[in-house]
């Protein structure tokens, strides 16, 4: 499918994400301006505050956006999942350039001019509004311009906390190895950034032209003022319009009979989320989907009550959440997880769904056939010439990288590359790395001709798929127990891999694939 064909087909969705994106950028920049400019003015008056405040704003900007989102989710009022969290994060990122340029702009006003203003008998307020702010305006606008471009970029990450925007396409594109999706997110975001930069560049030029010689005349200034006011008015109206749409779609959150289903940010998890979502919808419930939550975000969101349930793997819960050393007996792991989640988090664990998604140590199929590799032990002698690429998850978990290389006595040519899990498959298939740790039910294993090496030393603990559900959600929504009961032991490994394959390799919609599967199963 060509990119243009793709755009034509997905036009309404693209427009929707574009609107979400614009709204997030607009509202967060507006708030950042409302906070940043007064703060900047204050800092020009109080010298002692200057370096601490600028320091804090500086540190804000260095926090990686995903980390900031993760930190915000469990916080009351400003946190959670959705637009609000994204806006808080975006405002924090936008503050520094605005504050810094306000300070620089005002302090940069010619001392003679300021002295003349005071000596003419202007009050402090008149000096600020009639002299300092107008003369600093082009520098301040430069700050807003930088903030705006940053916000447009960071907003693509907002999709990780379910705020929508063009990032939805990008995340989905990376996960599904689909360049059309990637481009559909990246190109409009880049265009937005260019347009915003250019537009504010013009505005900035007009303001600084006023200070320079020869060109400016009263009539041109008036024309400019009219244009600026019109532009602001249009932006405001658009913003309010988008705002009303946005709040309309989010206001249902706290209603009764309303379920929020979460999932992690990869296809299988989203499919498992979709399965429950459709079954609940078939029982007449309103379902909100908060899929594509990265890292430990779904766990935090569940405990914070932002979602009612999400699919998880017993081994992940056992080692990554409960921090136990890995063990290999599936029964022990399941029982322990069930007990501790009930005690610690008041969260129920469903019956296993019937398949195990363990780490799959993968190499290229051609390589495996050439070297006659079957097990991980077979690969050990070759590994010293190989590069490895692992997801952030695998590198940091107790049952991940450190124990894995120790158990097999593995050594690689260089320190493994740590990267996004979805990207590792592509990196392996294209020869950028030679060994990765994927998921055993990953649909792309067959699609990309990858080979799974057998875990002959039984290092990896069991990863049985289950749903984690808040106990209060179970008592609030009786239909939930019934649905989860039906799904117990209902999804064998082959079927899960097939579902993944339909979405990842055949590029079919999740909802459609799930609908067919439910029909076949008679649910």
């Amino acid at each position: 499918m060509s990119f243009w064909h793709f755009l034509q087909q997905n036009w309404p969705e693209l427009l929707q994400h574009l609107r979400e994106h614009l709204w997030l950028v607009f509202i967060s920049t507006l708030i950042a301006v409302a906070i940043g400019i007064p703060t900047g003015i204050l800092l020009t008056r109080k010298k002692s505050l200057r370096s601490p405040v600028l320091g804090i704003a500086n540190v804000m900007q260095t926090i990686p956006s995903l980390a900031l989102f993760g930190f915000l989710i469990p916080l009351p009022f400003i946190g959670g999942i959705g637009a609000r969290t994204a806006i808080v994060a975006l405002v924090l990122y936008s503050l520094l350039p605005i504050i810094r340029n306000t300070v620089t702009g005002i302090l940069g006003v010619d001392a003679n001019v300021r002295e003349a203003a005071v000596a003419m008998g202007m009050t402090g307020r008149q000096v600020l509004w009639q002299v300092e702010l107008p003369l600093a305006m082009s520098v301040i606008i430069t700050g807003v311009r930088v903030a705006l471009v940053i916000a447009i970029g960071v907003t693509t990450i907002a999709a990780a906390v379910g705020a929508g925007g063009l990032g939805v396409f990008i995340f989905r594109g990376i996960r599904q190895f689909d360049n059309n999706l990637l481009l559909a997110g990246a190109v409009p975001a880049a265009l937005l950034a260019l347009i915003a930069d250019f537009g504010l560049g013009l505005l900035e030029g007009r303001f600084s032209a006023v200070r320079r010689r020869k060109t400016a005349t009263a009539s041109r200034r008036k024309g400019f003022a009219v244009a600026a006011i019109t532009a602001i008015a249009v932006a405001l109206v658009t913003g309010i319009y988008l705002g009303s749409r946005d709040s309309g779609s989010h206001s249902a959150q706290s209603q009764k009979g309303h379920v929020v289903v979460g999932s992690k940010d990869f296809t299988e998890s989203a499919l498992l989320g979709e399965i429950v979502a459709q079954m609940l919808e078939a029982r007449g419930m309103a379902v909100e989907r908060n899929f594509e939550l990265g890292g430990n975000l779904p766990h935090d969101a569940l405990l914070a009550g932002k979602i009612d349930l999400y699919p998880e793997y017993t081994g992940t819960a056992y080692t990554a959440i409960l921090k136990h050393p890995p063990v290999t007996d599936p029964r022990t792991v399941y029982e322990q997880v069930k007990k501790e989640y009930a005690e610690k988090f008041n969260v129920a664990v469903s019956e296993p769904l019937g398949f195990d998604n363990t780490f799959a140590i993968l190499v290229r199929g051609a390589e495996a056939r050439r070297l006659k590799l079957k097990t991980i032990s077979d690969a050990v002698p070759y590994a010293q010439n190989w590069r490895a690429g692992f997801g952030q998850d695998f590198m940091s978990r107790a049952d991940g990288y450190p124990g894995f290389v120790k158990a097999y006595g593995l050594k690689f040519a260089e320190q493994p590359r740590e990267m996004d899990l979805s990207l590792t498959y592509i990196a392996l298939a294209s020869g950028k790395v030679d060994l990765i740790a994927g998921n055993s039910t990953e649909g792309r294993i067959a699609a990309l001709d990858l080979f799974q090496l057998e875990d002959d030393r039984h290092y990896f603990p069991p990863y049985e798929a289950v749903y984690l559900v808040r106990n209060d959600s179970l008592s609030r929504l009786p239909a939930l127990s019934e649905v989860l009961g039906k799904l117990a032991h209902a999804i064998p490994t082959e079927e899960m891999r097939q579902l993944n394959y339909e979405v990842d390799a055949n590029k079919r919609g999740q909802a459609e694939v799930v609908r067919e599967w439910l029909k076949r199963k008679g649910f």
């Binding site: 002295e115 000596a119 003369l135 006023v210």
Partner: protein, 260 residues
């Protein structure tokens, strides 16, 4: 003005001012009479600009009193005091984002004069300082020459008819010819408008030309305060040094003698 003519408009009474621990002005006592142009002459760092800023309360003395219209500056509302005091600095200190008209009409606008009254006043003032209102009112400072900017600066200082003008080396950055013509016009204007002015300069010729009296500042002290005639007769060491520059100048301009 209701005060009698012999009462000084500005009076310094044993005024000292220091910046941190560095003394800038020490024990300054003198008075500025109604209608005179008092020139403060001195080299950089002599404290003459500081003395000027003490008058319109841009600075407050550490000890002693500065009185304007018989009232200590500490008791003046600084905004009222400054609006009654015209202030001209080098390059004029014009607001680059205001037109000439708005620059000149600034203090009247701050004083909430009516629009027509401001406009008439601006036109009148521009004519006084030799700028054709129709041509210059709509221009920005960036579109003016240095001399024109300085004229606008003087017009702005005169706008709300202040009884007192303070000028801090207003013509310092101009070329000699423009400076000479502005000096002549300043004499003309101050005679016509009967303004009281305190004029700061480091140029002894300018001081002799413009001052009804010359106050010689050196290292924060007032060495003498005399009419131009008496200044030229003074045997004070600093005054002699200034007198010498007047006589040396033509010698230096002679190529042969200058090299000897």
């Amino acid at each position: 003005m209701t005060e009698s003519a012999d009462k000084p408009l500005v009076e310094f009474r044993d005024v000292s001012f220091s910046h941190g621990s560095t003394p800038i002005i020490s024990h300054l006592t003198f008075a500025v009479q109604q209608g005179e142009t008092l020139v403060m002459l001195g080299e950089s760092g002599s404290g003459k600009t500081t003395a000027l800023k003490l008058i319109n309360r841009l600075l407050l003395p550490n000890s002693g009193q500065v009185l304007v219209e018989n009232k200590p500056t500490t008791e003046w509302d600084p905004i009222r005091l400054r609006r009654r005091t015209g202030y001209v600095i080098q390059e004029g200190g014009l607001f680059p984002h205001f037109t000439v008209e708005k620059n000149v009409g600034l203090v009247p606008a701050l004083e909430r004069w009516g629009e027509d009254k401001i406009k008439n006043r601006v036109n009148e003032l521009l004519s006084i300082v030799g700028l054709e209102p129709n041509e210059f009112a709509g221009r920005y400072p960036g579109e003016l020459s240095g001399g024109q900017r300085q004229r606008v600066g003087v017009a702005r200082a005169l706008a709300a008819e202040p009884p007192l003008l303070l000028l801090d080396e207003p013509f310092g950055a101009l070329d000699p010819l423009t400076r000479a013509s502005l000096q002549r016009e300043f004499i003309d204007i101050s005679k016509r408008l009967k303004k009281t002015a305190v004029f700061v300069t480091h140029d002894v010729r300018e001081a002799l030309l413009l001052g009804s009296r010359i106050g010689l500042m050196h290292k924060g002290e007032l060495l003498l305060l005399e009419t131009p005639e008496n200044f030229l007769k003074s045997k004070n060491k600093q005054a002699l040094a200034y007198q010498e520059t007047l006589t040396l100048a033509p010698l230096n301009s002679d190529p042969v003698e200058g090299r000897a």
